[in-house]
Symmetry: C2
Subunit: 370 residues, 2 copies
């Protein structure tokens, strides 16, 4: 939910010398949720292999989105605070035990605001078959919600690592709703599409026996892809036609505003789809299982041993400079309008350059399709 | 860590219509940590009774203390953030699995500040034999740490309810350090005693088979007592000589500053001792066990079926109007200096009234010993 690169460096600094649990299964950044084996505890009914169960826990704050003026609706703030935490459990293949939440509220806030916040929290819990276990309240200058979700993994937990060259990349569903919402807010649109992301808990449980790796798209697809190639030291070839990956809101926004479709995948206000990889022999079983559960997955590409991210444009493979694009997104967080203009410049430069047939090797983004 | 009465009302409002887990063992306010039975999971080595293990989870923010100027030292902020969460586990009789923490930092904070915060977190984890599992970082105007501690209860969890008339009240140790620290900060003392509260995890585990109820003193002793009598619908007779319950810092501050000892028990900046009750027949076993573990408990009084809190002064039982005293403490939070003056007025009025032999029935605090 925050500048991913800067956050990563800060997390590294903060965690550098902290004692790690010998029972923890993941290193820093390696999983959406922290995974801890509960020694001395055995599964009874669940999991007949006699192994110790695994606890999944994650913490996430909704704070910067409020400070930036992106989130103003109390219902939505409550909803997203719940879903953001649950999505990390989903990406680990965990089933929620419940959520605790620390809430900071302005001293002079109205009862209606509190009730609307609570209603968002409540509806998100009901929609996810999850419970609020308790919380903590504080007073401060602005609303801030910090949710901590706790879950259990019955089988093998999903992590961000474990991808092999040749593994196929999927999304649990179409993408872009988060960035379509952010763009509409930024442009002061009279009608802003409602942002009601849903944590993909059911899909996460289905994937936990099948996927080789998984991460949610909460910071946008491009951020997720950068993390997956970085952590697994692999490259990625994206399929042709990524404009067809957009959901309805992003597709509408792209055509009505004339914004290139890939910007809705690049922005860091993501959604909560699961971005996951499978070994090629597992792909048919996966598609059958998830389709039976109601949401057929979307194929995005294939991992390669060659580093870098490329995208198929017709019969040609073009480089996508993810670090450069995400630097623009990240560096301009304090000024989102400049960020969008810089990305449009990237796109316009590309169009101009191709139109004039100049050398495209120096371009930050090569051959991005319109 | 916040205005207990106002917080309680806000928590009631926030939790009023939220779905509760059928596996949760405690209602709102009934326990320092939320307690959830993990169905489908059995204890193996730990707990031979074949019952499902119980998860304990708690969330706590260090934010208002920073905004109020009470906490300025990054090491201390990190230390307290860990201990505040662990203390709630201790008060439930749980053993920590680990902690996750959401940290908000100013964008322009120095590396040294981050390292000092981290060192406080690290030392508190090491001192408690606990691990940081992970976290989340955000940028905001001021430092804010939200810690979520997860633990497991091997036997019977401790709650705030379950007290019977005749049960004896104890503290795991002397009290007042938190309020001595707060008073020194408030008065701008050149030398402020270091505030390094310790979560009483070992004591909590010992108590989990013995105590009839337990709650930590994080909001000060008087707040804890008010909650225990309210939740259990009982009264309380405090033993004579409560000035002898003060720890070294509070005792020193009381004598050098001429502040009545009971103010160090009334202020809401507490410490992290466990305040617990036992059935009279269990008292000898308890004293032996805790003394063997290194910290003999401090006897505070006896619960009664008569409502209200009273204190023995010589051979006379005098009323202590906890709600009135805590209203002063609470209502004056925005202006701590006024709060202390109002409490000193309560004390001075009492002294004047007793000196003049007037009717003391109307006094908010009757016969509080100096």
């Amino acid at each position: 939910m925050t500048q991913p690169g800067l956050e990563r460096r800060l997390v590294d600094l903060l965690s550098a010398r902290l004692p790690r649990s010998p029972r923890q299964l993941n290193a820093t950044h390696e999983s959406d949720a922290e995974l801890v084996r509960l020694d001395g505890v055995r599964y009874g009914d669940v999991g007949a292999d006699g192994s110790s169960p695994i606890l999944a826990v994650t913490i996430d704050s909704i704070e910067e989105e409020i400070a930036a003026g992106l989130y103003t609706d109390p219902f939505m703030i409550g909803w997203v605070a719940v879903m953001a935490s649950l999505s990390d459990l989903a990406a680990a293949g965990a089933s929620p035990v419940g959520i605790v939440m620390s809430e900071t509220l302005p001293r002079d806030c109205s009862d209606q605001l509190v009730l609307d916040l609570q209603d968002g929290i409540r509806q998100a819990c009901l929609a996810s078959d999850t419970f609020m276990l308790g919380g903590d309240t504080n007073f401060g200058p602005a609303i801030r919600l910090t949710g901590c979700a706790i879950g259990m993994v019955a089988g093998r937990p999903l992590r961000r690592t474990g991808i092999m060259p040749g593994d196929v990349l999927y999304s649990t569903g179409p993408l872009g709703a988060g960035n379509a919402f952010a763009l509409a807010r930024l442009l002061g649109d009279a009608e802003v599409p409602p942002y009601r992301p849903v944590a993909r808990l059911r899909e996460g449980r289905i994937l936990s026996g099948i996927a080789s790796a998984c991460m949610d798209s909460s910071d946008g697809l491009f951020t997720t892809l950068r993390e997956l190639v970085r952590l697994n030291r692999l490259g990625l070839e994206l399929d042709a036609g990524w404009d067809s990956w957009l959901d309805r809101d992003a597709g509408n926004a792209s055509s009505t505003k004339g914004v290139p479709p890939w910007l809705f995948l690049a922005g860091e206000h993501g959604e909560y789809e699961l971005i996951f990889s499978v070994r090629p022999p597992d792909a048919p079983r996966l598609v059958a299982l998830t389709a039976a559960a109601g949401r057929p997955p979307l194929r995005l590409g294939v991992f390669t041993s060659d580093p870098g991210v490329r995208v198929w444009v017709g019969d040609r493979l073009a480089a996508v400079d993810l670090p450069r694009i995400l630097d623009i997104v990240e560096g301009a967080r304090a000024d989102p309008a400049s960020c969008i203009h810089a990305l449009l410049d990237v796109h316009d430069n590309f169009m101009t350059e191709t139109a004039h047939g100049r050398d495209r090797a120096r371009l930050p983004v090569d051959d991005i399709p319109v």
